[in-house]
Assembly symmetry: C2
Homo-oligomer: 268 residues x 2
Amino acid sequence: MCKQHNKNLYLRPMNKIDSFVADGFTQYLPGQSIDCVIIGYNEHGLNVLTLNWKEFDMWALPGGFIHNKEDMDQAAIRILKERTGLELAFLKQFYTFGNYNRRDFEEFLKQFEPKELKFQPFINWMKQRFISTGYLALVDMKKCNPTPDFLTESCDWKPINNLPKLLFDHQHIIEKALEQIRIQINYLPIGLSLLPEKFTMKDLQKLYESILQKELDRGNFQKKILKLGFLDRLEKQLSGRAHKAPYLYKFNETKYDYLLKKGIGFIS
Amino acid sequence: MCKQHNKNLYLRPMNKIDSFVADGFTQYLPGQSIDCVIIGYNEHGLNVLTLNWKEFDMWALPGGFIHNKEDMDQAAIRILKERTGLELAFLKQFYTFGNYNRRDFEEFLKQFEPKELKFQPFINWMKQRFISTGYLALVDMKKCNPTPDFLTESCDWKPINNLPKLLFDHQHIIEKALEQIRIQINYLPIGLSLLPEKFTMKDLQKLYESILQKELDRGNFQKKILKLGFLDRLEKQLSGRAHKAPYLYKFNETKYDYLLKKGIGFIS
DNA sequence: ACAAAAGTGTTATCCTTACACCCATGT
DNA sequence: ACATGGGTGTAAGGATAACACTTTTGT
């Protein structure tokens, strides 16, 4: 899952950082950043994609800046692509974080110093005030190819219930994103992006339970979901397990897209 | 309702524009703006507060910029205060507009030119790319004191179903705001901010009908709302009309605030 | 045969909807 | 008295929640 790159910032080929320091940030809108809460789901629950700045012993959300002539949504799509390889996913802006003190630089700089002079322009860029727009992405972990950016050395999934200490206000950003999911799950058929193409009703139920953080009744869940009609029932799974084989389902994209637009009201 | 100010930008006392041009915009974050969709409700339905740049024959949403050391939310509160006099209201960020081409400057500049040289720095400030965060405010029109800013000459309520042509993407911003209200009304007890302290059940029903753009059943609405329990019934109104006097109600702030946080699920 | 988990059914309760009915009031 | 609109009631239908029953399958 995790790609280990060069172990130390100062031993690492510096061309990318150098070029960012030299002129990269003249290509970006100043003071405006994007943070992506990329959420994946596996048998242990929900996970968030995080980046590790090992030099500073810090984990951070994947983020980036907006090119001068780039739509903000486009920038988010680009960042998602760069970190995961995915071009298609549920991706949605959810909140913009604009508090003056949202980035606590004391701790950050403590770990950065003493450093080479050449980093000064980069530090200055980083030290400016940023207003950051949060994007929520729901992805299929199995289709992801987590890739660190030029500042970080690893890119890893972290279980949402056991997150490491995060940079700045990133913990808060994740909480706000989860809040959004829990609201949206009540009127949008979230799920297609987080599950593989074929899945069982139990898979979907576990996903909903992960999101809502509570247990749901098996029989009632099945009836409720099927009545909404955005699932197509497929052949039975050859389960090879000591019980009745469950049906497989897939999303009926026509109906699913329709409900994505129209919204639904369900799941108490 | 409308305050007529000086009729022409060029005859108007220039000190405020001059000082903005001179150094005002060094106090603000570049490229970041706020647009407020301020919504009021009266017997004719929902209204939006708009500003008129008469020189350009354009209407615009109240907006502004963010001071260098000011929280974004604080800036929105300040703008709301400046345009309406209100300090307390339902005020909530709802979306950030970041498309590269969201502001069509051709039309804007066409109307601005030919102009005096002194405006050039201001035009340059305005011509930069802005990413704008939209805030939704729900207010009691009767408590508002609409006041134009230093660039505009009047500040007026416009009925939401009959808006004039608006600047840039402001029409789109309003539509997005309305979409938000219609979603939020399903899980938040919206209403306190839009109505006077005391009101009848019919007033509240008409408000919901304005927002949802459909008629609701009188009896069922009453039962549903009362069961939620955020209203206190007061004495009967001396109606002086040819029918039974209706009760007056007011919001029970304790219960209302609780439901604002917790959310509700209702109104189909 | 049995355990385990899937699929489906049953029931009591609650909520929603669409009305109907009665009440208070000014003309 | 009657038209108007307020307050409340009712009955049918639908949704929900809790749980039970049956089916399939590997051990």
